[in-house]
Amino acid sequence: MSNPNNVSLNINHALEFIDGQALNIPTLSILTEDGDIHPSATAPDISKHTAIKLYETMRFIRLLDERMQGAQRQGRVSFYMQCLGEEAAVTASAAALDQDDMIMAQYREQAALHYRGFTLDQFMNQMFSNELDLGKGRQMPIHYGSKALNYMTISSPLGTQIPQATGYAYGQKIKHIDAKTGELASTIDNVTICYFGEGAASEGDFHAGLNMAAVHRAPVIFFARNNGYAISTPADEQFKGDGIASRGVGYGIKTIRVDGTDALAVYAATKKAREIASTQGEPVLIESIAYRLGAHSTSDDPSGYRSKDEEANNQTCPIDKFRKWLVKQDWLNEEDDIKAKESIREEILAALKRAEVVAKPALEELVSDVYDTPIPLLQRQYEQLKEHIKQHPNAYPVTAGRIK
């Protein structure tokens, strides 16, 4: 736009307002409930290997979620969050990326992490905050992170990862910019995907992150998981506009809405979004629509704020839908699938039992990593604490026996 105000000056002599719901946003849908391709849709080009890995990841996460929900009810872990209903949204989007693309998630994206290769034991060690946890036992269960797998450690404050994803993606782009022209000189090798919920999109960081990504042309895929609820607050008490997708247009960002229970639609949209981000050097917004089938977390009980009727009318299982398609492709044998589920359940239980007896982190991990090296005042506090624990070992059984 070639005017100081950076607007399209379509002069109009009639007094007219644009309606707040003027956009008529379509939702991409490829798979039917029965696992067929919609007659007017085109299936994305997805290999058997990827499709099976995608399915196995969703299957694993559903079983892990079921077991850990139970483990929390038994008092074995303090907290858990299920991905119920959103497995396809998270897994299929991760499957459409490169292994070295950065994932900056909110908290319910364990499936993306497992797709990357995070092992069952790594999940368990984090949830039991034991000494084998990569996070050194510092964060509540499900706050995973792995440098090796390019999965940024989860942070509880909502939406903070959104402008960070913009900055991270900008870093990924810098070496591809021609210093003289300021233009993109080559395809960006790795991009960033940023997940967040429709509730988190009310945070100021959402606006800051999307606006800066658009202005500075950062290759980031914003993936809004609109699951209808922010804990107990329904989407109609969260915003008035047409979902999150309508905002993308406001920021000047290419945007698409997809059926989040449709693994093929999510895969196709994310694949295309990645192509746009890496070749055009600009952000893309994807809004996925998939109902949160479970509670917000183990500390939540949806029966207090949503009706049985509503729940009954929103029971689409994304895993089932994709499984039916795989069976029709002859890529999955139902008997093998049932057997696999049994053995996965056993593996999960065994891993849980292993992790819960691993020792807690050593006392040293209380003060390490606050800075790259402990500052003198903190070192002094640590020495004082060690002396105190040595004098009262019975009061601090987790660490007393291991103090050097």
Binding site: K147, S155, P157, T160, Q164, G167, V215
Partner: protein
């Protein structure tokens, strides 16, 4: 060596960093072609390109969110907040994100590449919102480093150290001294170690401690005191977090008296932390109570700024009070 004001010295430190690291970026409001409202980044966009020195939209939380991401990626992120008074929308990104990035990830990730520059302090007729000294808020946050220079030489050396330090650092620049303070500054690269105070004048009767723009106030008070036969030891703390307890304690053990002075309101100002720590470390050596000469517990005023600020006369009065105790 070259004669520089503080802005030249800061610009030189940034220039060296941009030249050293091909992915380093400078960004903030108006820092691009304009070179910042105080001109600290003057000429750098022309030299390093729009993709590495650029204006951001007016969103402090966005600037710091972006900076955290860029730093986590591994590029030196040199973020400017136009006035320290406007840093608060970014408080969450600094306190909950930058400060905890390494700890919460078990050192899988860190934002050691982050440096936040921001002008602070009064003396420019800026009233409530162009005068604040918010260092104490950040000093309460493990994981951050907080640094304040007093002159051009210190500014360049400390800023280079802050940039190279592998932790997020907030660098508060005394805007009143940007052009007022000049001195000889090496054109080449050098660093001043963070976390170390500097004894700028030795003395025997009483220790005066401050940082940043307040240094010239306590130096003036020390001069006036010496005319009355009182020998002041004057110390620049330089780093608020981590701070150099040892140098201060050593001085107070010698003089038996301490006055801490800062522009920020007295209650819960960083002077309170210093007083508490030093009374514990030096209790049996103290000849008088530790005194604080600070701003009043009010928002920063405009018409009555002269009455509000902890000027040299107030410091001198405190010196006499301490000596006469």
């Amino acid at each position: 060596m070259a004669k520089m004001n503080m802005l030249h010295a800061i610009n030189s430190a940034l220039d060296i960093t941009m030249d050293e690291h091909p992915q380093a970026c400078i960004f903030g409001e108006d820092v691009g072609y304009f070179g910042g409202v105080f001109r600290a980044t003057s000429g750098l966009q022309e030299k390093y390109g729009k993709h590495r020195v650029f204006n951001t939209p007016l969103t402090e939380q966005g600037i710091l969110g972006f900076a955290n991401g860029l730093a986590a990626f591994g590029a030196p992120a040199l973020a400017e907040i136009q006035f320290a008074d406007y840093i608060f929308p970014a408080f969450d990104q600094i306190v909950n994100e930058a400060a905890k990035f390494r700890y919460r990830s078990g050192n899988e990730f860190n934002v050691g590449n982050l440096t936040i520059r921001t002008p602070y302090g009064g003396g420019i007729a800026g009233g409530l919102y162009h005068s604040q000294s918010p260092e104490a808020y950040f000093a309460h946050t493990p994981g951050l480093k907080v640094v304040v220079p007093r002159n051009p030489y210190q500014a360049k050396g400390l800023l280079r150290a802050a940039i190279k330090d592998d932790n997020p650092v907030i660098f508060f620049e005394p805007k009143r001294l940007y052009r007022a303070s000049t001195g000889e500054v090496p054109e080449e690269d050098y660093s001043i170690e963070l976390g170390t105070a500097e004894v700028v004048q030795e003395g025997t009767d009483i220790t005066l401690l401050a940082w940043g723009a307040q240094m010239e106030i306590i130096e003036a008070a020390a001069q006036q005191a010496s005319e009355q036969g009182i020998s002041c030891e004057v110390i620049d703390l330089r780093s608020i977090l981590p701070w150099d307890v040892e140098t201060i304690a050593k001085s107070v053990i010698k003089t038996g008296r301490l006055i801490v002075s800062h522009e920020a309101p007295i209650t819960n100002g960083f002077g309170a932390e210093i007083a508490a720590t030093i009374q514990q470390a030096c209790f049996l050596h103290l000849e008088s109570p530790i005194l604080r000469v600070c701003g009043l517990d009010t928002p920063y005023p405009l018409a009555l700024e002269k009455e509000y600020v902890p000027d040299a006369l107030k410091v001198l009065a405190a010196i006499k009070q301490s000596m006469d105790f």
